[in-house]
């Protein structure tokens, strides 16, 4: 098998434009204009405006949750929540997660306790949590991954039996359900991200969902939004407002959720069928849910069976304008400052270390067509067949570039 038809070695890229991994759903230009014309007419730009109120009501209905509190972005929402829940000392979270989960704890003055993950589902390893609970641990932060869920009911039992609080980073899980109950209803609270990379896009944005009235009142006071209910005692406030602009885009995105979810699922099924035929590439299925948003397409590369490593495959795809990426890389315990401040985790989290060297994220979302998925899979198949030749050319190529 020849290497000459790969862009990495000089052929024309398979795509005319770079194809990125984010969801990037956005309303049409006409709808955008109309929504913003309304904002300009009302001259109400932020501070719990009419669109913010509408969005929170619609989210509450959609998710079947008592309180949805919209915030500037998910990281700030997670920071506010940790503070409002009165957490102290340490919080357990999976190391195979996005950096925001750990940073939210640092900002709230808490120490992360990194737990390893399950090698198949990639979700937090339930059987390893109990051993990490000591007198300083005040909570477990579950992180739902890849349009799946991290066993929220089992985690609730575990947290209860150890007398610690439980909450969730649900950035990947908007619209997902466990046994018919929407994510947003588990633990003391769950936090969504409305960043452009997720299925519900507000450009930036976040939302804390809870069924706890007292916690909701505290969060609304902390967020600083006039008119959002009677202020209550809080330790400190933030500017956590989501503007009318963000809310307008989120409202349209919520309306589009059914069709965007369907589009994701259609693309996911094509990947699923194609990847099943390629040795060494394992699609990571959304685990633990009765309904998924299919917003992530992640697969594990088994170098021996596939023929190429994660890094080589990413380089090859990038040259074709398929902006595949490692995700998550590295594990949280290997990032600054945790690797230096908490070195005890460095040699303990084998599944996280191994997954961060194996996983690649492929494009799925608004800018990806069924034909694009077919073409990406065709590249993946060709690369598998040409793996040996690619290896030798790649070594040559790296030497030339290094020189």
């Amino acid at each position: 098998m020849s290497t000459t038809d790969f862009a990495l070695f000089g052929a024309a890229p398979a795509f005319a434009e770079p194809l990125s991994v984010g969801q990037l759903y956005f309303p049409s230009w006409e709808r955008y204009q109309e929504a913003f014309r309304g904002i300009f007419e009302r001259q109400y730009y932020t501070e719990y405006g009419p669109l913010n109120q509408q969005l929170e009501q619609k989210l509450q209905q959609f998710l079947g949750v008592k309180h949805a509190i919209c915030v500037t972005n998910e990281t700030i929402a997670m920071m506010m929540l940790a503070d409002a829940m009165g957490l102290t000392g340490k919080v357990i979270l999976p190391a195979f997660a996005f950096i925001a989960s750990a940073q939210s704890l640092s900002w709230a003055g808490l120490e992360p306790v990194f737990c390893d993950v399950d090698p198949d589902t990639h979700q937090i390893a339930l059987d390893q949590i109990a051993a990490l609970i000591d007198k300083d641990v005040s909570a477990i932060m579950g992180v739902h991954l890849w349009g799946g869920a991290c066993a929220p009911k089992a985690l609730a039992e575990l947290a209860k039996s150890h007398g610690v609080q439980l909450y969730f980073d649900a950035a990947h899980a908007f619209g997902c359900a466990v046994d018919g109950v929407c994510i947003g209803n588990f633990g003391r609270a769950e936090v969504f991200s409305f960043h452009e990379s997720n299925i519900l896009n507000a450009t930036e944005g976040g939302c804390i969902c809870t069924n706890d009235d007292e916690l909701a009142a505290r969060l609304r006071t902390m967020r600083s939004s006039a008119g959002a209910g009677k202020p209550v005692e809080v330790t400190k406030t933030v500017n956590g407002r989501m503007s009318e602009a963000q809310c307008a885009i989120a409202l349209m995105s919520l309306e589009d959720f059914p069709s965007n979810q369907k589009n994701n699922e259609t693309l996911y099924r094509i990947y699923e069928a194609q990847l099943a035929t390629i040795p060494g590439l394992r699609l990571v299925k959304p685990s633990g849910v009765s309904f998924s948003n299919y917003q992530y397409l992640v697969c594990q590369v088994d170098e021996r069976a596939y023929g190429l490593s994660q890094d080589m495959l990413i380089a090859l795809l990038k040259a074709e304008y398929v902006n595949a990426r490692r995700y998550f890389y590295p594990g949280l315990h290997r990032t600054i400052p945790y690797a230096q401040e908490l070195p005890q985790y460095l040699e303990r989290l084998h599944n996280t270390d191994s997954l961060s060297a194996l996983c690649i994220q492929l494009p799925i979302g608004a800018l990806v067509s069924a034909q694009s998925v077919e073409r990406i899979c065709e590249i993946l198949i060709r690369a598998h067949h040409a793996a040996t030749a690619i290896h030798s050319r790649y070594a040559e190529f790296s030497l030339v570039n290094a020189g």
Partner: protein, 403 residues
């Protein structure tokens, strides 16, 4: 508009409200809608809605040029701009931040999020702001940072604070949210101290829905903060600085800020007309003193501040309540001052006699885009009516209070 001919017609006594829509103290400037759409189209066509997008870059260049600084870094709000800049500048190992108490109501909370202890300093009678003389007694071996905070009208003691910071070798950060447009000693505000912080909130001079930015001539600081607002990432997977979070400005907010910048010169002219209307109408009113802008500094005239003098016949609280009942949303200036508020976090206990006295005296009457010159005529007319009928109003208020 409802005119008052006797005190029973005052809304506080059950009469019809003078205005049917609120007259706020927020700027709420509305840029040209087509200009906003024009900017929006740029990000819309690129399918990039955040993450250091093309409009954020354009806005940063434009603001740096406007403030005559080398660098500008934008953030999701002024609050988070401060919360990231303070720790980036603070002297390592030191834990106190010197700031006025007579300022933005969330300033001490910002310090608490950065784990520094607010050490409140007093202010000068004539500027309502801190100075070298009021800051000097607060400096000790624990001082990590000095904040110079510009008041709503004119400046804090720029030269004195710059000299003091240099003498003590302590970094100086200016909160210049209220002084966007001004110049001092031939240089634009934005050029002084280690850095200056501004807001793009809807109530501020440049409306970006929500947002904030920093200006500096320090390349290292600008680079560090640009990384920290994006979790500390350099490139896709590499975290290179600790202490980050998501504090990015999204593209819609950047589009709004750019459209507001296009209108800035016209806006300042409109603001000046409002200011001059207040000046002309308030001049004959005994007991009220308008804080005058020093026009040699090219002010932006965004807000109006008046002092309730000893010979004004009603208390400030009663005056504000009467106005508020008419939908004139006048409010007390920075009241209560921060050192008088309950704080659930460490701070340095202080006595601030000047702040305490001044905190009882000033009021912000309505201003900004939703207030016309005719409205100002009516508002001052009502104040004249209140003054002329003060004895009867007081009696009726006392009667109401007794019931």
């Amino acid at each position: 508009m409802v005119k008052k001919s006797n005190i029973a017609e005052l809304a506080i006594f059950g009469g019809e409200r003078m205005f049917s829509t609120p007259k706020p103290t927020s700027n709420l400037v509305r840029p040209d809608f087509d200009k906003f759409l024009g900017y929006s189209k740029i990000f819309f066509e690129r399918h990039q809605y955040t993450n250091d997008g093309v409009l954020v870059k354009q806005l940063e260049q434009r603001l740096a040029a406007f403030h005559q600084t080398e660098f500008c870094v934008t953030f999701c709000s002024g609050f988070w701009a401060l919360a990231l800049t303070i720790p980036a500048l603070a002297r390592p190992g030191k834990n106190e931040i010197v700031m006025p108490s007579f300022t933005y109501r969330r300033m001490a909370d910002i310090a608490a999020w950065t784990r520094l202890k607010p050490h409140f300093c007093d202010v000068e009678e004539d500027t309502l702001a801190n100075s070298a003389a009021t800051v000097r007694p607060c400096i000790n071996a624990n001082t990590a940072l000095i904040m110079g905070v510009h008041p709503i009208v004119n400046f804090c003691d720029i030269d004195g604070l710059v000299d003091l910071a240099k003498e003590k070798n302590i970094p100086l950060l200016f909160d210049s949210v209220e002084s966007v447009y001004e110049s001092y000693a031939g240089r634009k505000i934005g050029c002084f101290g280690a850095a200056e912080i501004f807001s793009l909130g809807a109530s501020k001079l440049v409306n970006g829905f929500e947002g904030g930015y920093l200006t500096t001539n320090d390349a290292q600081l600008a680079e560090r903060l640009a990384l920290m607002r994006d979790f500390g990432f350099r490139g896709q997977d590499n975290i290179v600085v600790p202490g980050g979070l998501n504090a990015r400005l999204n593209e819609t907010h950047a589009a709004m800020a750019l459209a507001s910048m296009d209108d800035l010169e016209d806006q300042v002219a409109r603001n000046r007309e409002r200011y001059l209307a207040y000046k002309r109408l308030l001049a004959p009113l005994k007991g009220i003193r308008l804080l005058e802008f020093d026009e040699s500094h090219r002010p932006g005239y965004k807000n109006i501040v008046i002092e309730i003098l000893d010979d004004w016949p009603l208390s400030r609280a009663d005056t504000v309540s009467i106005l508020n009942a008419e939908m004139i949303l006048a409010r007390a200036y920075y009241t209560p001052p921060l050192h008088r508020k309950r704080m659930a976090y460490p701070h340095v206990p202080v006595e601030l006699p000047v702040t305490d006295r001044l905190a009882e005296r000033f009021v912000l009457p309505p201003c900004g885009h939703l207030v016309s010159n005719d409205d100002i005529g009516e508002i001052v007319g009502l104040m004249r009516f209140i003054s002329a009928n003060a004895a009867a109003i007081k009696a009726r208020l006392n009667q109401q209070g007794a019931q």
